[in-house]
Symmetry: C2
Subunit: 296 residues, 2 copies
């Protein structure tokens, strides 16, 4: 039987959060419904953050209760602190994601707190989640480079990832936020983190700014990772990186995984339709090459 790779779809949150024009809640729900229909089983649905900072996610409390319950899928949501966690859980959320960075400079600019302070901010979230039986995923961003400090020592990635894992995150997603990393560095970083945390508790999250995302995923699959984040049609992008061209496109990833002989449970044709549908809604071409090749 083919080995399984779990794809964590982040388009409804990471993919849309920087869209200038507000995407209607009904469209977001339709996106999630289509993603689920393609076979995706982990779909990051929204973020319970301040609408002042991320206006696109202002409808989180309206959106989440309209998602299906008990359909066997996970719909994690991003929360920045205990207040966001409480709002989320009040809406019925059963999985949350917390986020910090491996770069001190990035954390200060991005969430106005040092790494240590950001971790301390999440401690009560993790504590409450444990009591509530809510799963927590941890994001570490800037794992292969930072727009402010440049190089990020691997030892800093290991330290922050290990802290989040020790605090109770069931999985740590290692993100190359600005997409500067190449395959050798990605693999070395993953292997270093896997020295401290079981590989089964690690995920990789690449942005395709320099066209390196899929090569980086391949290097990390070879090193043993079996969970990969992606965003349909390559939506998303980091506002802090010039030319940032979004996340790894889920269509290209799934095409690769199936070609490599992995099972994903995802129907590529349905996924491609979903990516095309979203691109049309956003009024632009899909950034996924597999999408452009396969779209009917």
């Amino acid at each position: 039987m083919a080995e399984h790779v779990r794809v964590v779809e982040v388009s409804p949150r990471d993919g849309l959060q920087n869209e200038a024009a507000f995407v209607a809640t009904a469209d977001k729900l339709e996106l999630i419904r289509r993603l689920a229909a393609s076979g995706l089983r982990s779909i990051e649905a929204t973020a319970f953050v301040s609408p002042k900072w991320v206006p696109q996610m202002a409808d989180a409390a309206e959106l989440f209760p309209q998602l299906p319950r008990d359909d066997g899928r996970r719909y994690p949501v991003l929360v920045p602190n205990l207040q966001g966690y409480e709002r989320a859980v009040a809406c019925g959320v059963r999985e949350v994601a917390v986020f910090t960075a491996a770069s001190e400079a990035f954390t200060r600019k991005n969430i106005n707190a040092g790494i240590e302070e950001s971790l301390q901010r999440f401690e009560p979230v993790l504590e409450r989640a444990r009591a509530d039986g809510v799963a927590v995923r941890g994001y570490v961003s800037t794992v292969l480079g930072c727009p402010y400090q440049g190089a990020v020592p691997v030892s800093d990635v290991v330290r922050v990832a290990a802290r989040l894992h020790a605090m109770g995150c069931y999985e740590i997603s290692l993100g190359d936020t600005i997409g500067v990393g190449t395959a050798g560095a990605a693999r070395a970083m993953l292997q270093a983190v896997a020295g401290d945390i079981p590989m089964a508790a690690l995920a990789v999250h690449f942005h395709d700014t320099y066209g390196q995302a899929l090569a980086n995923v391949f290097a990390c699959l070879e090193a043993g990772v079996r969970t990969v984040d992606a965003s349909v049609s390559g939506t998303g992008g980091c506002p802090y990186a010039k030319g940032a061209s979004g996340n790894l496109a889920t269509e290209d990833l799934v095409y690769a995984l199936h070609g490599l002989g992995f099972d994903t449970g995802i129907d590529l044709a349905t996924l491609v339709e979903t990516g095309s549908w979203l691109s049309a809604k956003l009024g632009r071409d899909s950034l996924s090459k597999a999408n452009r090749a396969l779209h009917a």
Copy 2:
């Protein structure tokens, strides 16, 4: 000292050959001049083919004599047969490339001859080249799939590549013409061919139809290949593959190679400028993500 990877730039030929609007000879020369200035040392300059079949290359005999001589660079040209070879050599060409495919169906459609017949057609070319001291590169296309016959057995790739090598080609470029292959298949194919031909005599040539090209290159670099074909800004594309989105972009490749610690002799900034210049000439956006991220 960093290990060297040789990049073979194919934009003036493979990149431009399917452009509908004729690119002026002066612009082609300017492209080649800029590519050379970026540090590229192997630049496929044109093709001595029938202008009936490839009108874009109709100016080969006018273009080639205007290229620099003795600048330490190689300017191979494609030739389909002895007649093309003779025209090329009369213009001062010192390196030619011949081409066939690993798929019988593709060869018949593409050059109206079976694989065996195409090889026989090249025998007098190889013989004459040996006598003339002209280097010959051999292309094998459809190494990971064919638009007509579908799957292509690896044994067919090995057989055709070995024949070209035995006939005297100093290097065999293995091409995934329609870009359907993924990293595991690319590596397995390369390793099978390397069982019969020294790895140092092999090159890989990927199209990015499904976004897999750079991951495929990485897998092949890991397996030992040290020569990679690419086309600046991802120009090119196979008219037989729906949605075919051109060659691997040289900018993305060079970004990856430098990140992996390889020496290429190429200045990425100059290459990016060249890709932007060409994209502007062709009136479209660069298909290279590194280009879009780095273009000033």
